[in-house]
Every structure is written in structure tokens, then in C-alpha cells.
């Protein structure tokens, strides 16, 4: 059985000016133990989809289930926990330990089990020194770790993470990425992660689902998506720069030709009928000294932008 099943999910938000469609016939599946990234611009429907899966929003039509339990039923919380809106999910007047024990109790866990899980998570997240500190006195990174630990203390097999690295510095973001990866590899958790930070998604997710205007526009493994948008783009470093007249002639010959890095390099995306040798010959004919050539690999951000723009 899939961990998450969404079929033909539609959500219309009622407004005074008429319904606004946030999701339109979204279907997706997440297998047990997968980390899947949910990408989309603001308003694409990511948070709406996640909140429907948590049972916090009512869908207009369609099916949303976690391990076969409809998300509208409270019992779905036995299978799924969520980190929503960064670190706003913890009680700021409770200490780290008190927050963890409260959320364990809310899940219905007995006190001894809550204490055991709390001790494990405090150690795992490096919160030991701060375990008696109230959440309002923690740094942003610590708060975020606590919020994630509060979601984990419930012991659910599925985690929904909405912008888990929001507002974190680079170092803490990297630390948290490692922890998220470990959730799937070490603990067999299923994670659906929504983020604007492509680095986080590329670093943690095996597969990505891209939403645009409430629809799934791509759903594939990250390497497949990168391969799909693999272009024959090259960057050529120049030893002595590029004379103006040569630039004009090269631009006429290669339509995507552009000068980069302050005249010290050129970037070209070659059409099917041309290859890198054609480019090198052309540069040699113009008397341009070449220092090095490298192929430009697309990253997830390029792929995302091209898909969303419908390129």
C-alpha cells in the first residue's frame, strides 16, 4: 500500500468574488520510505495539498489518504505528523522537554514512552543543553529543530514538512537536511517536503512533484528531470577576452551566444545541428584563445523554472 494516495484532488476556496481554485485534479502517490519534494511557486497549491493530507483543510472533491485512512478522519493522525509554517508549531512558554512530552501525550503515548522518545530526540538533535530552556529563548535554528522533533516524537510513519528550513542560516539548513535524509534512510519514514529552497529539495529528495496553478505539471525522479532538461550548453573560458567584431560574428552564427563573467567567458547552448567542435572551430577562426571548456549541467532550479514556464 502507498503511504500517501491523492486522487483527483480539487480545492476551491470560497471568496466574496467567487471560488478560487487552489488545486485542480491533483493526483499523486508516495511510496513507503520515499522522500518526495513538492515544488511550486507561491500559490501553486503546495500548502493546500499538505493541509488537506493532515486533515486541516476540507477538499472540495477527490481523495486524499494516508495508509488508506481518509485525511478527513482524526485517526489519520496516527499515521501522519506535520511541521507547518516553520517553527510556529511549538509552545513558546514550554521548555524543549515539556513541548516534546506534551506532543507525545497529545498523540496518546504513555508517559514512560514519551520520556524515552523525548530523551532520544533531545540527544539526536543536539538539544541537550537547552532541554530546560523555554522555546521563546531558543535561536531560530533550535526552534526549527524543536518543531521537527515535536513532529517526530509522535512516531508516525509519514511526515509532512512545509518549508522546514525557512529562515535558517546555511549551516543549520545543511544540518537539518542531513537529519531529513536520515529519516528515510535510518528510520524508514516517508517524507513529503515542500520548500522554496531548491537546494534542500535537490539535496534530500529522490523524487519531485512540481505544482503549477493547482495542477501537477511534473512528477519524476530528480535525475530523470535533470536529464530531461539536459542541454548542450557550454561555457568557454577565454584567455584574452573577446574582440567586439568577433563577438558580433559569433552571435550571428550561434543564436544563444552570450558573453559571461565580464568578457572572460562565453556561454552557448548548441542546437542539434551544431556540436562543440563547431564552436571551437569558430572561436579558433576568430583568433580567440581558449582556456577551457565546460558543459553546463542544469540544476533543479533551472528544471523547475523551465517546467513552470512551460518551456
Amino acid at each position: 500500500m502507498d503511504a500517501i494516495t491523492v486522487e483527483d484532488l480539487t480545492k476551491d476556496y470560497p471568496t466574496r468574488k467567487g471560488p478560487v481554485q487552489a488545486l485542480s485534479g491533483v493526483s499523486l502517490r508516495v511510496e513507503r520510505g520515499e522522500i518526495v519534494g513538492l515544488l511550486g511557486a507561491n500559490g501553486a497549491g503546495k500548502t493546500t495539498a499538505i493541509k488537506i493530507l493532515c486533515g486541516l483543510l476540507r477538499q472540495t472533491s477527490g481523495r486524499a489518504e494516508v495508509f488508506g485512512v481518509p485525511s478527513s478522519r482524526p485517526e489519520v493522525a496516527r499515521h501522519v505528523a506535520a511541521l507547518l509554517e516553520g517553527s510556529r508549531n511549538v509552545y513558546w512558554r514550554l521548555s524543549v522537554e515539556e513541548n516534546l512530552r506534551f506532543f507525545a501525550g497529545l498523540q496518546g503515548l504513555p508517559p514512560y514512552e514519551a520520556r524515552r522518545r523525548c530523551a532520544e530526540l533531545v540527544a539526536h538533535f543536539g538539544l541537550g543543553e537547552k532541554r530546560r530552556t523555554t522555546a521563546n529563548l531558543l535561536s531560530q535554528g533550535m526552534k526549527q529543530k524543536l518543531a521537527l522533533a515535536c513532529a517526530l516524537v509522535k512516531g508516525t510513519p509519514v511526515l509532512l514538512l512545509d518549508e522546514p528550513t525557512l529562515g535558517l542560516d546555511v549551516e543549520t539548513s545543511h544540518e537539518l537536511r542531513g537529519m531529513i535524509r536520515e529519516l528515510a534512510t535510518g528510520e524508514g519514514k516517508t517524507v513529503l517536503l515542500s520548500s522554496h529552497d531548491m537546494g534542500v529539495v535537490e539535496d534530500t529528495c529522490r523524487r519531485v512533484i512540481i505544482l503549477a496553478r493547482g495542477r501537477v505539471v511534473a512528477d519524476d525522479l530528480v535525475p530523470n528531470l535533470l536529464a530531461l532538461f539536459q542541454t548542450r550548453a557550454y561555457q568557454v573560458s577565454l584567455r584574452d577576452g573577446l574582440p567586439q567584431d568577433a563577438r558580433a560574428r559569433l552571435a550571428r552564427r550561434f543564436l544563444t551566444f552570450r558573453v559571461a563573467e565580464g568578457e572572460r567567458a562565453v556561454a552557448v547552448e548548441l542546437p542539434p545541428e551544431q556540436d562543440v567542435y563547431t564552436l571551437m572551430d569558430a572561436l579558433r577562426e576568430e583568433g580567440v584563445a581558449v582556456d577551457g571548456v565546460s558543459r553546463v549541467e542544469p540544476n533543479l532550479e533551472d528544471v523547475f523554472l523551465r517546467i513552470v514556464r512551460g518551456e
Binding site: 482524526p74 514550554l94 501525550g105 497529545l106 498523540q107 496518546g108 504513555p110 515535536c150
Partner: protein, 258 residues
């Protein structure tokens, strides 16, 4: 058992917050006592002029004030707490309890009722010392009557909490309700219509137990049935209204927004 652990978690959280902010806890108690002192001084002065401001004398004032205090605590604990949860972003997490949000709310009500008993007992002790009128305190009878008397207030609290989920800033309405509670507590429960209102009949019955020494066995059965009926009616109505607004909030995605 998981229901019991959830209740325990809610109770422990409430106690931690009370303990962590003792000044807030004590100042709330002091404020309630000060208001009582003002009322008591006014009542004594009026008595000196031959005017009985509180129909049943000073004992009536103590019982009425006690019920009002309990009602205010019950109401604010539920509706203000829900608004606070929505503001700080934790309401959604409460909704994600496998036991369901309504069960979590009931836990909150029971926990706050238990804690309120301690408060109200302290306030009652202070009031009895101040007035020199020592009331009868059969704990079992009082506990049952108090719960039935404030049950409609919990119903109103649920309805207001539901409104707050959708319309957010309704604090002014909350404050008006505090004065409505004064009127309901002071309302003589003679007519059938006034018995059917929240707080009114319960206050009279509590007065009979605490002042006249009545017990559950000697109170009029009809009145007790009406009290149970009104408690159930307002509580169910309040929960029904809450569910209605909860559905609207879930449909519009308003649970997290404040």
C-alpha cells in the same frame, strides 16, 4: 488508555503554565478578590441605608460572585485559549491529535475545571473570611451542581470559540458576555423562562445548598431536571455551533490564520 494520556498531557501543560507564571496567577486571584471587596463594601453601605442590594443578603453575594467567577474562568479558559492557540500557530497541531480536536477541548475543559476548583476554593475562603459568613460546603453536591451550572457557559464558550475561528477578532463580544453573565447570575429564577437561561437556576440551587443547607435529595426534583436539561441543551448547542464554524474554517483554510 491513549485518551487518558492525552488528558494527562493537557492537564500537565496547564499546570506548568500556571506554575511558570505565578505572578499572573496570583494577580488574577487578587483582582477577583478586589472586585469582590468593592461589591461587598457597597452592599454593606447599602444595608446600612436599609437597602438590600442582593436579595438573599451577603450570602447571596458570595454565592453569586462565586458562580460568576467560575463562569468567567470557564468561558475565558475555553474561548480565549482557543484564540491564543490560533495566534501562536499551535491550534493546527491540536487538530492533528488522533483523539480528535473535540476530545482535546473536552480535556482542556476538565483540566481547567479542576484547576478552577482550587482557585475558586481560595477565593471562597477569602470571601467567607471577609464577610464573616461561613457557608456550608458539601463537596460532592457542590461539585455536581457547579458543573451543571457552568456547563451552559462551556456551551457558550464553544460557540464563541467557533465564531473566533472564522471571524477572529471578537474580543469585544467576549467582554460584553462577562456583563451578560452578571445579569444571568443575578436574575431571580422564579419563572420558567428564567430557569431555562444559563446560570440563573444553578446559582439559586447552589445558594440553597450553601446557605440553607439543602442537599441534592432535598432540592426540588423538577429544578434539578431543568438544570440538567439546560446544561445539556446549551452544551450541545454550543458544540453544534462550534462544529458548524469549524467546518467553515476547514473549508476556508482559516484554522491557522489569525
Amino acid at each position: 488508555m491513549r485518551y487518558l494520556w492525552t488528558f494527562r498531557a493537557v492537564l500537565v501543560r496547564l499546570l506548568i503554565e500556571l506554575k511558570r507564571y505565578p505572578l499572573n496567577t496570583l494577580s488574577s486571584l487578587a483582582t477577583l478578590y478586589l472586585v469582590f471587596l468593592i461589591l461587598f463594601t457597597g452592599a454593606r453601605y447599602a444595608q446600612g441605608l436599609g437597602v438590600n442590594l442582593f436579595g438573599e443578603g451577603l450570602e447571596g453575594l458570595v454565592v453569586g460572585y462565586l458562580v460568576w467567577t467560575f463562569a468567567i474562568i470557564a468561558f475565558s479558559d475555553l474561548s480565549w485559549e482557543l484564540m491564543r492557540e490560533a495566534q501562536q500557530g499551535t491550534l493546527e497541531q491540536l487538530y492533528m491529535s488522533p483523539q480528535g480536536f473535540r476530545f482535546v477541548s473536552v480535556c482542556w475543559i476538565l483540566a481547567s475545571f479542576l484547576v478552577s476548583l482550587i482557585w475558586v476554593a481560595a477565593l471562597l475562603g477569602l470571601m467567607m473570611l471577609t464577610t464573616g459568613r461561613f457557608l456550608r460546603l458539601p463537596l460532592g453536591t457542590l461539585g455536581a451542581l457547579l458543573l451543571l451550572t457552568v456547563a451552559p457557559v462551556y456551551g457558550i464558550g464553544f460557540a464563541m470559540a467557533g465564531l473566533a475561528l472564522v471571524y477572529k477578532r471578537i474580543q469585544a463580544f467576549f467582554q460584553i458576555l462577562q456583563f451578560v453573565f452578571v445579569a444571568l447570575v443575578a436574575l431571580p429564577a422564579d419563572a420558567a423562562w428564567s430557569k431555562a437561561l444559563p446560570l440563573s437556576l444553578g446559582t439559586r440551587l447552589l445558594g440553597r445548598v450553601m446557605v440553607d443547607g439543602d442537599t441534592l435529595a432535598t432540592l426540588p426534583v423538577g429544578d434539578l431536571l431543568v438544570l440538567i436539561g439546560t446544561a445539556a441543551f446549551y452544551l450541545l448547542l454550543g458544540v453544534g455551533v462550534f462544529r458548524l464554524f469549524e467546518e467553515i474554517a476547514k473549508d476556508r483554510g482559516l484554522l491557522a490564520h489569525y
